[in-house]
Symmetry: C2
Subunit: 366 residues, 2 copies
Amino acid sequence: MRPTVHDIAAAAGVSLATVDRVLNQRAGVRTVTREKVEQAIERIGYVRDVAAANLAKSRIYPFVFILPFGDNSFMRGLEAQVRAAIGRSAVERTDISIVSVPAFNAEALVAALDEARARSPAGVAVVAIDSPDVVAAVDRLRSDRIPVVTLVSDLAGSKRDHFAGVDNIAAGRTAASLMGRFLGGRSGPVAVLAGSMLVRDHRERLDGFCAVMKESFAGHAVLPVIEGQDDPALAERLVGEALAASPEIAGIYSLGAGNRGLIAALKHKSSGSPVCVIAHELTQHTRAALNDGLIDAVLNQDAGHEVRSAIRVLKAKADGVAVIGAQERIRIDIFLKDNLPFEEGSETDAPFERGSNQEPEQGRQD
Amino acid sequence: MRPTVHDIAAAAGVSLATVDRVLNQRAGVRTVTREKVEQAIERIGYVRDVAAANLAKSRIYPFVFILPFGDNSFMRGLEAQVRAAIGRSAVERTDISIVSVPAFNAEALVAALDEARARSPAGVAVVAIDSPDVVAAVDRLRSDRIPVVTLVSDLAGSKRDHFAGVDNIAAGRTAASLMGRFLGGRSGPVAVLAGSMLVRDHRERLDGFCAVMKESFAGHAVLPVIEGQDDPALAERLVGEALAASPEIAGIYSLGAGNRGLIAALKHKSSGSPVCVIAHELTQHTRAALNDGLIDAVLNQDAGHEVRSAIRVLKAKADGVAVIGAQERIRIDIFLKDNLPFEEGSETDAPFERGSNQEPEQGRQD
DNA sequence: CTGTTAGCGCATTCAC
DNA sequence: GTGAATGCGCTAACAG
């Protein structure tokens, strides 16, 4: 049996209450007593039973998730994952609320962050926008000792505790590497479709992509980036125009959302030489396009993993315990048509229990 | 507050003990009483607090992990991950013992399974060998109601509860798809290096690979498979001979272990046209070869994820609760030199705690 | 067959 | 400043 608070009380010659006070760094203990207890803790190798502690406290973790809304497949999928987590809150002792803010709007995000702060939750997860005001708002949360993790898009220069997302520079480099190799001997320039250069993840992907194209595949020029605002309709129009203007385009890298529009433009392309297409985020639409051969590869970040990871990390930060680093690293998944995972939704292992524990369907749309 | 056993006792008009009996499906309850309680449970939407239950039971989960030994990088990494889990056992309430058996030896594996059974653990994880005797041994465990998960290599036809590993057919298909595209216009046959056709994962990868090569890249013949027994020395010799015999080889797919030998053979290759190499499992050696351009892509299964997943699933099966399906799906990671993760070992998030919670270094060798 | 009671490891009132 | 007592939700002896 591992040591308990009783053991350390006995070892230090004090009562449970005193042990508890030093354990939870509360006031009201003489320095000598405190030290005596701390030494006992060290000596017998005590490690707190978080489950028992949470039971005694009837602890629940109030978390706030701040997500952009809008007709964006990936973000809708992310939100679905947060809702799935809400469905598990009874089991996971969480109380998660979702706050939706307009996309690409730093002011609204700051307001949401400050509002969240007023509710003093046990932690905040936020899809960040790169802006000094947002940095300041995040740091206000931190100065209230509220843990903050950035989700999907990071916030450089802030005091956020953790970033639950992929290495977007590596993602861009990987896309270029695949593009260059897939193009093989073929020649022709490469077009890039982005959402907005205002968000850090898109910029980083572009940087990584351009770097490798220049380093290793200089034969293919990279055309000026097309900003589609993650809007399918706009993306369709702009890509269509680009293909018409430069019929010699050999490849397209779509590093943002709005792939529905890209795919539509590809379908309408008046034949000609095939275009190698690499896109981000596995959705209903990109999955179908992959199967049809319209898209050659999809780089993906697992939104479910990101959400679960954010929750685990926020809990750990709130409790001041360590996390398993490797478990919280979000991978860049590479999907070809050959390694597509089965559709989500029906993959819960057979339960064998009383009480409902159903996982909600997780419909994605774009 | 969510309902507790007290609430259901009150609702059903019985005592706690009776509630507990039906909750844990123990005998000694009249059918009518049982039904009354079950209805109350249903009605008030009770869901058991597993943490509290485990606290009351002082429950620990004794698990047995059966792993092959030998000079095989990947398996050593897997074992390191199990040891890392052992390091977390205080926190995770597990008591994990590792049983090492000779590789590719069904008889020894059966003996180990029966021995494990005699200890009646709360669950067994095993790297399976495809053999009727092994199936029977696994089914003996299951008939004792001991949960079993297969790890890395599955056991078709058995009653194992779960497989913690990748879809190896998809892995083989993906390898072929990458190979075919990376070869671009180049011509020449493709060689395949395997460990042994006795293990299911290797056979499946080969099947997937050959299928796609035939479907989509018929211009490249697939040479007869080379069996290197996952032994670096043997692999080096055989690959060297193959390259000498067929200098026109355009690609090599290494679907097993022993990549150290493959890499050595590649280094000694008397120049000539470049060979496209795709290998499995990210280790110190394949990582270096990827960086040096000797290997073009590495398909990987995350051993840490597999071990953590196996433990979660075994716990869930032991408790009769559901798991989060998506969390237990082991991905086929594709690594190019551009998306290599940072070296493992130093990536634990900054802790902030009392009591030691160190993650051990996880040295891999091949 | 069913109910009462005393913990599991910890946190939190209250007295002292 | 410090300690003793009570309860978190659940299980496991015991009685009845």
